[in-house]
Every structure is written in C-alpha cells, then in structure tokens.
Symmetry: D3
C-alpha cells in the first residue's frame, strides 16, 4: 500500500521556462532508462520476490523512492513548459531565437498534454513495459538494476551538459547522487550474491546440462585478433573454472541444415518450385 | 562486412516435431533477451565504439557469433514445426493429446509463417529495438551485456526443464555454455574497467555536479527495516568514497509544488475551475 | 513523495494455484484498462494540474491508492502461479486436465518471470503509455477517468464469472466496490464542472470559431433511419443551445479534391504516369 | 458495405503550404484521439452491437462520417506539404525563416510518404488499435465515446490557436462543430441509459458480489485534506445508494504478503539466497 | 465522403459458434496483411495520389470495398463467439473437448470485447500503421499492393484448411476470389507502368547518381554457389541494361572504419579506456 | 554461421559532420524499409526455406550482404554525429545556423547513444519485426522483396536530394546500385516462378474453393467511373483465366446482419437496453 506526501523529495524548479529542454528531459522520465522504468522494475521485482525479506525490502525501498523521482521530473517539465508560446510558426520564425525554440518543442506537449509532462521519451515514444526486467532470479535482476542505474546516470550527466539553468542543474545533481547510491547498493548486493553462488547466473544449472568445452572460449568471428590482446585473455575466468582460451578460427560443428518439404496444406511453395 | 557459411555452428535437430515447444522456444529467438537482442546489441555497440580497438573487436566477435545463434534457433523451430497438423480444432480435440497440442501452438506459425520461425517472442510480440542498449560508454554497456547474458541463460535453463527431447537439449547445452563464456568475458571486462575508472558509471562526472550528501544513503521508503540488516549495510560502499548509511525516515527536501495557471490559449481548465 | 507500507490494502490470496486464471487476471493488471493504467493516468493528471487544489488532491488520493491495487493483483498472480508445473507438454497432455491447463498458461510467466506477475495484458502485450490520458483540461480528463473505471469494472465483473475460487472472488469484490466509488466520484466531479462550464469540452472555444450550423445535426451516413427513432432525437441537446436535428441525406459541402503534381525532387510517380 | 463519394464532406484547402503545421495536424489524423481512432472505435462498436438497432444505427452513422473526416484531414495535410522544399539543411539554415521551417517538418513526410499524409501522430508514432474501445457494454462504450470526442475537440481547439491560415481554420471550425454534436449525442445517450440502468457500469453486477462497505468512501492516500472540501463530499453519491464518506487515514485490511519459495525447476534465486 | 449500407457485401454466417477459430480468424482482420491493412493502405494511397485520376479511382474503388470486408470478418467473428462459455477452466477441463476449446480462445474476446471482434491479429497484437505503405510513387506502391494481396490470399487459404464449417468456408471463398481480382488488377497496373517507366523504381534517378558497376552483380555472400545455377543467371536483367553477373568472392571496397574519439561532454568511455 | 570482416563493403565517410542529416539517414537504417528490415527479412526467409536450394542460396547471399549495409550506414551516422555540439539551446539559438541545426538533431543521438547510430527510423521509432515478411511461399515472398527494394531505393533517392555532401552521396550511389540489382533479381525470380505456377499466389488453391464469379470484376465502390477508362480494363487479366469486367454498381449479396443477444455472464448491455 502506498501513501503520497505532497512535498517533493527534492527541488524541481527551473530558473525559467525552456520548452525545448522540456522535450529532452522527457528521456529520463519516460525513456528506456527513465525513472518510470526503474520504479516499475523495482516494484515488480519486489512484489515477485519469493523469500529473502532483506532484499525484498531493499528493492521496495528503492522502488517507492523512484515514484517520487518520476514526480519531481514531471513537475520540472510542467514548469519548463510554463507559458510556452504556441502560435503561428512562420510568424514566429521571423525572430530566429523564438522560431528555433518553438519549432523544437515537442508538439504534443501543447496539443495533447496542455503544457504538462507525458510518460514518453525525448522523441515522443510512449513508455512501455518491454523496458523492464523481473525474472525471479535475484542475481540476474541485480545485474539488470546496475545496468539501469548506469545508463540512467549517464543520461542525467549528458542532460546536465545541455543546460545552464541552475534550478534544473540542482535537481540533476540530486539525481546523479541517488544514481550513485543505487549503483553502489546493487553492486554490493551482486558481490554478496556472487560470493555465495558464483558469478554465472543462474547458478543452479547442473554441469552435465552444459557443453562445458565451449564455456571459456572466445571465438574470433570478426577477422583480426585485437581481442586476443586483452589483458585478461588467457587468464582465469571470473567463474574460476578455467582459463579463457582464444579460438582463432570459428568452427562449424554441425552440417548444413536441410528442412523437410512443406506439407501441401500450408500452401508454401508448390512442389515443382521446391526443387 | 559479413559472410555466411551454410553449416551451422552447432546442432539444431530435434528428435521429433513439437509445435507447442516451438512456440515457447521463440522466447530465446525474438524475445527481450533472445538471440536477436544480443546480436543487435553487440553489433550496434561495436559499430559505435570510438577508440579501444581491443574491446571493439571483442564486441564484434561476439555479435557476429550471435547471428549464427539466431540461425540455429530459427532452424530448430522450423523443424519442431515439421508437418504440424493444422486442421479443424473441434475434430482434433476429440483426441485429447492432439487437441491440447494443436490448440497450444502459435497460430501464426501456421497462418503467417507457413511452419517457419518468426522474429517474435513466446507470446507472439514482434522483436523491437527497445530491447537493446548502445550508449557509447563502455563500462555502462558491459553491464548491459552481462545483464542480457544473465537473463538469457536463465531462460535457456528454464526451457531446458520444459523438454525431454535430446536434440533440443543438445542445442540448449551449447547455448548454456556460450552464455557462460559471455558472462565470464563481460565480467572480466567490467573488472578491468572498474579498476581503471572506479565503479560508478559514468566516471567522468565531476564531484561538484553531484549532491554527494545523498550518494551513500539508503532511505527507508518501504516501512519496516529489514534492509538495514543487510550484511554490507554500514560498511564501505563499492566506490570506496563513504560508508553506506541508513535513513530510517524519508525526508521531503522541497516544498509542495504549485504550478502556474495555464495560459488561456491552451484551453486547459478554465479559470473558474482552476480555483 | 511516496512511501510504502508492506501490508496490503486488501486480501490477495487464492484458495489454490491456477496458472491459467493467472494469465487472464493479467488483463486488469497490465491491460488497457488495468490498474497500472489508472494509477499512471491519475498520477500524471495530478502532477500536471494547474490550480484547483481540491481536485488535484482528489486525483492524487486516487492515484496513490491505485498503485496499491497494482500490488494486490501482482501478489495474487504470483500466488496463482505457485508451483506451476513446467515440464514436457506432450507427457502432460496424456492427462487431459493437466495438459489443458499447462498448455493454456502464459509461457512467459515461467520462462521470463520465474512464476511472477508482469506488466502485461491477458495476451502478453506489454503495458504502454498510449493507454493513458492527461490533457490539462479537468472536465475532459474526468470523462477519461469515468471511462477507465467503467471499462475496468466491466472487466472485473467478467473475471469474477470466470472463477469459483473464493480467495480470488474476495479480492475482486473489493475491486468492484472501489470501481463503484471511483465512478461515483468522477461523475460527481463532472456534474459540478458541467454546471459551471457547460457540457461541451473545452468550454473555452468562442462561438465564432465554430460552424455552429453543424453542431446539432445527426447525419444519416448509414442507410436506414433507425437512429431517427431515438427518444431524445428532436429534443433539446444537452448543451441547451439547440434541438437535435436529423439529416436524412449526407451532403458533400466541398468539391472533389485535386492535389498539385508532385515536384520532381520527391521522386513520386513521374509526369507521364501522373496523367 | 461502404461506398465512397469523391466530393469531400467539407472544405480542406489551406491558403498556402505550411509543412511544419502539417506535422502538427497529424495529431488529429493519426493520434490517440485523432479521426482514425473515432472512426475505428465507432465501426467496431457498431459491428459488435448485439441488439438495440437504434443505437447500432447511431453508432454506424457516426463511424461512417468519421472516415470522411480522416479523408478531409489527409487531403489538407497533402496540400500543406505542396512543394515543400527538401534540400540541404545547412544551406537552408542561412535563411532563418526557411531553415527553421525545414528543420521542423516531419522528415518522413518527405522521405517515406512523398509529401503525403500518414496514419501517424504529431511525433510520428504509428496509429495503433490500443487507442480504441469496444467492450460490448453500451453505457461503458458511450463513456469511451464522450471521452474521445472531448479530448479530440480540445486538440482541435489548440490546433486552431496555432495557425492563422483561413483555409485551415475553416476546416477546423467544421470539426469543432461536429465534435460538439458528437459530445451532445453521446451525452444524450448516456443520460437515457443511466436513467434505465443506473450510473454504475456495468449495472448487472449483483450487490452480493461487491464489498459495498467500500463503495462510497474517499480514502485520503495523499496527505492533506483538500479533497474533503469538495462541494459534493458528504452528499449523496450519483448512484443514489449512499452518501460519500471521507476516510482520513488509509487502512491496510490485509497482512503483509509472503510468497511461497520458488520450486527449483524455475531457477529463481537459489535456496541459500532466499533466506 | 463515405456512406454505409447495412447489408453485407457477402455472407458471413458460420454454421455454428467456434471461439477457437474466431481467434485464428483475427489474423485476416487485424493482422499485418489483414483487411484493415489493405483498407488503410489503399485509402491513404488514394488520398495522397497527385495526378492520374484513373489510378486514383481504381485505388479508391478497392479501398472502399475493403472496409466492407473488415465488416464481414468482424461480423463472422462475433458470430463464432456466440454464447462462448466463459467459466471456471479447471471445471471445464474435465471435459477434454470443452476444456481444450475454452483454453484456446483469446481471453480478451471475453474479458475486453464482450464476445466481439477486435482490431488485432491471431496472437492479440493490436493493428498498427507500420503495416501499411503509401509512398507517393505509383509503381512502388502497386508492388506493395500485390505483395499485400499475395500474403493475404495465402493466409485465407491456410485458414480455409483449418475449418470444416461451410458458412465460414463460403465467406473465405469470396475473399479468395476478391484477392485473385486484386492481384490481377495490381499486376496489370504494374505491367502498364513498367512498360512506360522501366522496371526499376523509382525510374527518375539519373544514371550518374548510381554506381552502375554494381547494378547487375550477384555477390556470393553465402558460401557455396547454388545461386549461380539459377536459370536466369548470366542472362539479361529485367531492366534490360546489362546481363546478370556472378561475383564468387565478396570484395571489401573500403577500409576498416575508425571513428573519431568522443568529445568529453558526451561522457562516453573516458580517454584511458579508449586506448 | 556468420563471420565478420572489418573492412566495409563500400565507403561510408562524409565530407563533414551533419547531425541533422544523421537523423534523416536513420530512416534507411532502422525504418520500415531500412537495411535492418531487408537483412532480417531475407535471413528469416532463407532459414525457413523448405527445398529449392538455389533460391535459398540467393536469399542468403543477399541477406548476408544487407547486414554489411546496416554496418555502412551505422558507421556513416556515427561520423555525421562527430563532435556534435550539445549545449544550451537558447544560447545556441542566437546563431541561427547553429541554433537551427542543433534543435533539429535527434536528441537521443546525444542523450541515449553518445553520438552513435540507433536501430530506429527518422522519427526515432524503434525498428520492429512487424516490418518483415516470411511466409514460406516463395512467389509471395519474392513480391515482398521487390516491394521492399522499391520502397527502399525510393527513400535513398530522396535522401540523395537532401544533401550536397559528396561522401554521403558516394555511399548512396552504391546503395542505389545494389537496390537496382536486388529489384532486378527478385523480378527475374518472380517471372520464373509465375511462368511455372501462374500469377495468382498461392497457386495451390483448388478452383472449387473460390467464388470465381468474383475473381475478375472491378466494382465501382468510389462513385465516378474514371477507373473504367484504364487501358487494360476489359482485356484479359494477367492470370489468363478471364477478361476484366467492370461492375458500375456495388451489390450487397447478403442480408443485414443481426447478432444474437449477449449471454448475461458477459455483462454486455443489459436486456432492456438491447431492445
């Protein structure tokens, strides 16, 4: 059960409106690695956790916080859109500053959302649940989480470069910090889990299921051997089970496949053309 | 530039057709973490790599291999669909074994693809590019890669449980092994990069951009303090910059937001209703 | 800012697992009118509200509650999936009860989510933000809300018919009640707003913008005049500005359009084929 | 069965080309509440109507008309794109008026559609069937319809503000009028149905299915009691069954959920990590 | 402008309900090559035609007819769903015939659409505008049309195999015939246009834009030379400009690309990792 | 199995960066008819081919080549983005040339991809598998292929018009040539197959399945008889089975459909409203 407090977790007030920047900021609201993604990813992981109450709680702590981040960015976007001029473009274009800015705002911010934020990315693609991961396997999902926080923090840093507005930058400085924390915590979790389970997820696959002769071999599918020069090549692999080996020549272990002819009732290519 | 060899990298021949299993196997072909996803993710990362030829080559080696895995699974699916009976369902349902199987196959395998594989997941959702990550930041992307290989190997393990067919299992044993290798190699890469850069991605954010007082704090947004009992809580965080601290009570650092009234030309709620 | 309480708002415990029903129940979790949709719709409407603090609060009260409903249904689905058998289908099909049930579960519940809920609908389509409405106009959005609660409650009623499980039905009885409340409250809001503004949204369009001779006319585009027999036909329209009139014959008020030829630099049909 | 008349229902001729406005106008052609949406929504509702021939006819009258509106807007967009210059951007940018306009047109209008309209929205997202509603329940669907016409008319009003072109405005004045009519007719229908059925959809749910103690209660999930001050709070609810009551403190009626451990064959978190 | 006639163009009445077949039939209603696709494709092509009134008329004749086909199939699906039992699955599964059938129907047909058709495909994916083609180039679009009618007729043939219901087959026999006509007409159009323009679309590309030394060469990118044995290999190509030639060995005409290092403000891989 | 050669098939080096053009060029990388589409379409067709090794090889030759085209365009886009300025827009807008260009670049190129290419179209829509066709029927699929190459070459020609950069144009001249070849080869294949099978796909439908009285009739659904004047009207149809005939008046061959009332358990419109 969730309750809402009207005060924001952190400041979300720009120095002045900037509808073009509002369009860009949508990326970390409703993009692939925006705040909606991490909120939903953590909530679903938490709700689906079977056992391990400590990690379930950690995930829910973080998930609930992220809904508040969605709120902060949505509020910021609404303010960046304040009084955005929405009028005849050709007229506006006579003033290059106004013209350039007006043309570049997201037209749906005015037409669809009435100067409000939308759960969409910087190109206007709607957020969708394909962005998130909830597998039931804690180690695998912690990796999804550190991935999401890494990509997310990278995007915040790039957006920080794109504005001089002190109010916007203040909010982004908070998001950078929280993404630092979240990377730290998921990495700490991964280290603890790897210590117990080993590094290869899932750790429950019995060795006899696996063609282990292929488990530590880099195969040179892209001509040229630069990758053989990597420092860790030839050394023990992270799973501690063997050394990395380098296979210069890709080998085809199976024959050329030849499919059975199609039965007539599927109306594939007729027999005379199958020859 | 890519060239194709008709022999398969590994065997992809089931003992006998099984159209219901073909539907399930689609997940690791065209699902969020299927082989198309890793192939496309690695290829785009490789093409976009600026500098670091060793890692570029490693990524391209792996990307090119994965196209061959798409080929193996597509071939397996086509064979699992061999001679799938496609006829009146009610008639078939009189034999419960046939009826159950027929009903459960993916209808598009027959209607749309003529007993062939499709770039779709186990529920028939088409593959889309929102599944992949290519950010230009090597550490961040290596994390995306270890995430993808962890989720992917987990799904292969689950699919292994769902069949007794020795031919299918043989192919899956190869995929398990390659996913082991790929997890190993991306983890090795992450370790090398973290050693040089530090663990928080991107590592190029100057400290003065970040509200560092929030960079190591777990905030208890989900009532109950189980997460405070985690072994690593209170200890040094992976970035080595501070200890994890635990904040029992979430604090709102900003005021309740109040947005400006909408200008009349956007036809939001009229003034008398805004009060 | 949002905080989470681990206790559920209401019971979400089935009498016994039922993976096939779990698949169906996904509709009111992650479908077009599922709980994710109403939660996100209300939160975005609330965050974007400019003025009218009473309605903003009402919307936020309801939005925060809905996240808790997502949680209840996700929990119920995880329990319906408890110990779902996931094995060789043909083997299972020999027992028609098990075979039929196993075949009909959502394969991603096992392969992708490890027996957990997903933000998807009953056919496995991922939730997406195209399902929601946040326009900045309060009257228009209240109509979106009563629409969502009507469709949502209708789906809950249908799902109630599809199970005999007393635990599931208990949860659905709560959702039916809350959807009753939410329909009631949005209707009350609409009535209040219509009284102040009039019934046609947006109410701020000046009459001279509108070709008002077409504002009260039903045009008989589908041959046959059954619709002319509607009780309210010929009577005063809800906006009180005129009576409904019935136009038996559709009239074309404009000429047949003829587009300019394409300029050569777009490589449309070449001139000789444009004739 | 449908027949086409080449004359347009109303004028669709701009004073002069304006490719930037063409991009914006796409919203009411192929956006969430564009004309394709209402056309498809009404046609599917009509085709699926079981009984009630008067309403079926009303719905089909309106659905057939809306295809003609799609035609008008598509024609307008093609004309707004007439002779759109499509050339080297940097060259063009030297003239700020031309540069701004060229940069802001939808690039697919030139590259993909050869200066023609597309079934997409103002950001180029393709129209999809998730935008529409056809539930089989007449009252519920009438609410979907008044929602669609309210959002649609709001967008037309905003687009009217964004142009000074008299030809475009003439077409929009017609669309405003038809949306007025359609709001009026769906509201009249709702009133008639509510009078017969009651206001809560679907009206066929027996009271014993519903936890009616929760059917009239506003729960204060967003701290602060502004919503308690709404005029209608405490008064009889629209369904006439009880007064609205206000619950200041959200109550959790169920225990904290604890899921069963995952069976080993799904390879979720292994037992030692579940603790 | 479009008008509707309530009589159907052709019969759409099954002998008896069959909800499982209803699910499959959705493919030719709302799938990639279903009737919605051809209707929308032809209408947009017609509306965007610049000049050539004869072809514009042909396209509009066909587009308007296709809306009537959508109507026929939607009606058929509603009837196949008549009285579909929608109840507890486990109970039903005791009768293998009923159980198998119930489990295999599209759950959204009951939960979302109230036993009506939906604009979706056989796996429940919503129709979307990415399925259609309208390029402004008549020859190119005629090829899109013959493609659509070929895939569409193939799917109708496969669906014909999957039922014994005489009512369904009667409707399909009509659709097969109309798809024959439409293939014939688009092929006739292509032949006429190719005769005037030549076979390579668009025909307006000046030869000096094209690296013509690569315009007639098959390059053997897939090892093995079976394709060199094709009857037409070595003979004059359809464009009449040269003979087909066969290049046994793929040649790389450009160097290995090396991208510039990323500027620091995008926070890609930092300099020490770029080496 | 696929191997990669680091040298490009052809040059992909612009004279100078142009981030706005990079956005447009995305269309032929990740759009509906971009290189990813043809690569995936041919690979899936090849993998699913049952019999006919010559055509399978031809398809695989072409599919493998197309992955190399994806590579060329991705490389070109990364170079067009070299050192793209990514900073405060309002500041930049003071210089109209820079301002216009910066505003028009795809914001995700900087925020998400770190100045790299993405598998998306010119409006930022992610590539998805609904763009491709693989039906199992060779004649039908060859038509899909000639369609794809026609639309693709048309888009390349339009993009050629939009730049003066000699490096970009050089790459496009190669793509124009390869699209010429691919149109030629698929047309040659179609001609060979049509000669053996006849022109109507699939050719395996027995005549008694088809209501052949409707197989050669153009029905005048769009009022006005321009289409009757087409040169080929009245002449023998391409299938050689009859002459094209022209039906001036559309005829409804079936009665007005009336659906059965809905059973109460689906909670459609209640009985009193069904009347």
């Amino acid at each position: 059960m969730f309750t809402h407090k009207k005060e924001l977790q952190f400041h979300a007030k720009p120095e002045r409106p900037d509808p073009v920047y509002a369009k860009k900021l949508q990326e970390i609201l409703g993009g692939q690695f925006g705040e909606i993604s991490v909120a939903m990813q953590y909530l679903f992981q938490g709700w689906n956790t079977r056992g391990n109450e400590k990690y379930k709680d950690l995930i829910m702590d973080t998930g609930a916080e992220e809904i508040g981040h969605v709120e902060m960015i949505a509020t910021m976007i609404a303010r960046l859109l304040d009084k955005a001029a929405v009028k005849d473009q050709e007229e506006a274009a006579k003033d290059p500053v106004i013209g350039s800015i007006m043309g570049d705002m997201n037209p749906q911010h005015a037409i669809v959302n009435g100067l409000g934020a939308a759960p969409k990315d910087a190109n206007g693609n709607p957020w969708n649940a394909d962005y998130i991961v909830s597998s039931g396997n804690l180690l695998a999902d912690m990796r999804a989480n550190v991935n999401a926080e890494s990509q997310g923090r990278l995007q915040v840093a790039r957006l920080y470069e794109m504005t001089e507005d002190r109010g916007v930058r203040e909010m982004l400085s908070f998001l950078l910090a929280r993404d630092t924390m979240h990377q730290n915590q998921w990495i700490a979790a991964i280290r603890e889990l790897e210590e117990k389970e080993g590094v290869v997820a899932p750790s429950t696959v019995p060795p006899e299921w696996e063609a282990t002769e292929f488990s530590h071999q880099l195969i040179n599918f892209s001509e040229g051997e630069e990758s053989a020069q990597l420092d860790w090549m030839g050394k023990e692999a992270p799973d501690g089970k063997a050394k990395f080996e380098y296979a210069s020549k890709p080998v085809a272990h199976a024959e050329k496949p030849k499919l059975e002819p199609a039965p007539p009732y599927v109306h594939d290519t007729p027999p005379h053309d199958q020859k």
